[in-house]
Symmetry: none
Subunit: 422 residues, 2 copies
């Protein structure tokens, strides 16, 4: 069973308003086992609407149309539908009286421009029982065509409460879809893809999504039963976990800071951070997670050198002798943060995020990351590519990932693509 | 002159990834005076891609295609193009050697799966001079067809640097569009809209975009000459600036932290921050701005109460008597941060971001913000709505905005929608 989604509106094709509802609806349809043939966005123009309606009627089992149902001049969907399908536009008295009622309730003057909203193609069945929002179902050649308002909240409500239940009962997809997203850090798509090919897969679909700075692989299986679909997905996931025990850090909504937090909580351990070039981003990533106060004690954003000395106790001579971006300062920052906040572990970042501040010996992207554990304090040099914000993001994620991998394996020196020192 | 945008990818039609680049590109085309005929999103399926390419070639002057250029099996765009247009796929030695070079530079093993990325339809002209990203131009029946990578950052870069300049020089639209985005904080769309109606406008189009937690209003005019279009836009902008001298804080890319930073730099003043529930977000927003080290000295993320006492010198009895979320603690945090970092100004935030931790007296969303100036230290109570991350974001932005408005007007108590104390 397959459907298409057609969104109508000049404001959409001119990019003034991003069409988010089509993608939202596509995800719901896909989850319910339907195939989405295409997503289309066209201007408020009758001939374009009519052309695609007729074309999609041939290609699909159902069509979901949004937008163009309002009272203004550029709302042309109903006229386009009537022309394309050879139907008459019929004024619906129950909708007309509801329009007048609304005007009275809101103390508005009678506005006959709104009467247009009561003119529906013959055979249209309004979707909202109390007629509080526009939108109708039209059966044509036995195929359901749904016309929904473009306003996202109204679209979503009618879609969830009317469209999806209708489809499930009248056009059952007969398929169960199971999806799992695997989240990787510090691996390229191509490397994961090679592993997938070597494993040899069948009966699952793969989708790679780089969600900077992570790579996400979504594994999807459709089958007659949930058990069968789930079995296929989990079997590939298990093989990939064996291939990449360190890089595959989480599933679905498990963000890296959440996974690290869970590991710290399980150990009853605490963390603090010291940040220079990431400027608070690392702490912010940690504290976005609800309940992070269980393991996160705090951080120091020591942007100025004086702050490194006074807040974290970095020896002033380290900065003088080695520079603020150095192994010595990264170690002193991490150790200072661990002691200052009384934490078990601390991470530090000091580097050059750019665009200014680089030099031949320490170009933009040079970052020292420090890790202080109860036993020892070490630092490693990285060279990250990208813009200022990308360098900040890669630095913060790499620091968090380093502690995660250390907790996982006990190895203080896991391999990183951008690492310049062991 | 009109064009169409075709995005390719199973992950897009299944709603797993929202196609944001098509709408972004549509907005840029519209601004440049082009008509956007339609936006299409189709799965990785050769026959669908080929059908739409041939159809759109008849309807439009140019086509922009994104996605499906990568090395994996589901990347079928080049094959589809070759089939649809009757072109041969030709292996490009310069791309092949660039692929091998990249592998060497990154210490990766040779992966011949990547060779596929060098197989382009005959006549294709790579868009990136150094071949660092996929993407090419194909002239077919004299019409430019652009094939760009689906990765948003790569798409945007090639679109801005290659596609748009090409179109402007080879297919001039004949119209000049001038757009200006006005950025507001702590105002509702409806309030701005009412002001716009009272001003009475003509010859400009308006688009409201809530970009949480700001509201953006884009004013666009199209005219035969740039002077005429610019005149219309600037005249409305000036009237709105007079209406909202405090709330309209910036234009186009002027983010709130950038505007505040510019004011601090102009005064030769410095800033530090103390954060509890925002957990580093405020510092992170400040330090995302290049050159922020000119005025930002540092911050303390004092998540645990002990850190508030030890790092910022908050009297322990304040926490005991009034609680960590209180006027007294907010003031002590701000003053502590100002002194600790030796800054002229300091901001502090302490509150309950949720989802847990609320109580009847201090429900989730209760946030105290402190502002310490060389002359005095004050704090105000706010009640912010939303999820954890929304409360954190509103708190951080409101704190930065408070200092901005204080520097602008000298008033320590500007009005805020969510303020609970003067």
């Amino acid at each position: 069973m397959r459907g298409a989604i057609l969104a109508i509106g000049d404001e959409l094709v001119s990019g003034k308003v991003a069409n988010t509802t089509s993608f939202w609806a596509a995800a719901r349809l896909f989850e319910a086992g339907y195939e989405v043939f295409e997503l289309l966005t066209v201007p408020d123009r009758k001939e374009n609407i009519a052309f695609h309606l007729l074309r999609l009627l041939k290609e699909t089992d159902f069509i979901i149309v949004s937008g163009g149902l309002g009272p203004t001049e550029d709302d042309l969907t109903n006229e386009a539908v009537a022309e394309a399908l050879g139907l008459k536009l019929i004024s619906r008295p129950e909708i007309l009286s509801r329009i007048r009622e609304n005007e009275r309730a809101q103390g508005l003057p009678v506005n006959t421009l709104r009467d247009k909203m009561a003119l529906l193609p013959g055979g249209a069945k309004p979707l909202s029982e109390d007629l509080s929002v526009a939108g109708y179902l039209l059966l044509y050649q036995g195929k359901p065509l749904f016309f929904l308002p473009g306003v996202p909240s109204q679209f979503r409500k009618l879609f969830s409460e009317k469209v999806l239940p209708y489809l499930k009962s009248r056009l059952p997809s007969g398929l169960v879809t199971v999806s799992l997203t695997l989240r990787f850090f510090d691996l390229r798509e191509a490397e994961i893809n090679r592993a997938v090919r070597e494993i040899g897969i069948s009966g699952v679909e793969l989708g790679f999504y780089p969600v900077f700075p992570e790579v996400h692989l979504t594994v999807t299986a459709r089958a007659k039963t949930e058990a069968e679909a789930r079995g296929r997905v989990l079997s590939l996931a298990e093989r990939l976990r064996a291939c990449f025990p360190e890089h595959l850090f989480g599933e679905d909504e498990e963000e890296l800071p959440l996974v690290l937090g869970r590991m710290l909580r399980a150990r009853g351990a605490t963390l603090s951070v010291a940040e220079s070039c990431t400027g608070g981003l690392m702490a912010s990533l940690i504290t976005r997670i609800p309940g992070s106060s269980d393991y996160f004690l705090g951080g120091a954003v020591t942007y100025a050198n004086r702050a490194k000395v006074e807040v974290l106790g970095v020896p002033e001579r380290f900065i003088r002798l080695f520079g603020a971006v150095s192994r010595e300062v990264a170690c002193a920052m991490a150790e200072g943060a661990r002691k200052r906040f009384g934490a078990n572990f601390a991470l530090s970042v000091t580097g050059i995020a750019g665009p200014a501040g680089g030099s031949p010996e320490k170009p933009v992207g040079t970052v020292w990351i420090g890790l202080s554990t109860p036993g020892e304090t070490v630092a490693r040099k990285f060279h990250f590519p990208g813009t200022r914000h990308e360098i900040q993001t890669l630095s913060a994620y790499t620091a968090l990932d380093w502690l995660r991998r250390y907790l996982l394996t006990g190895n203080l020196y896991p391999t990183y693509r951008f690492a310049k020192t062991p």
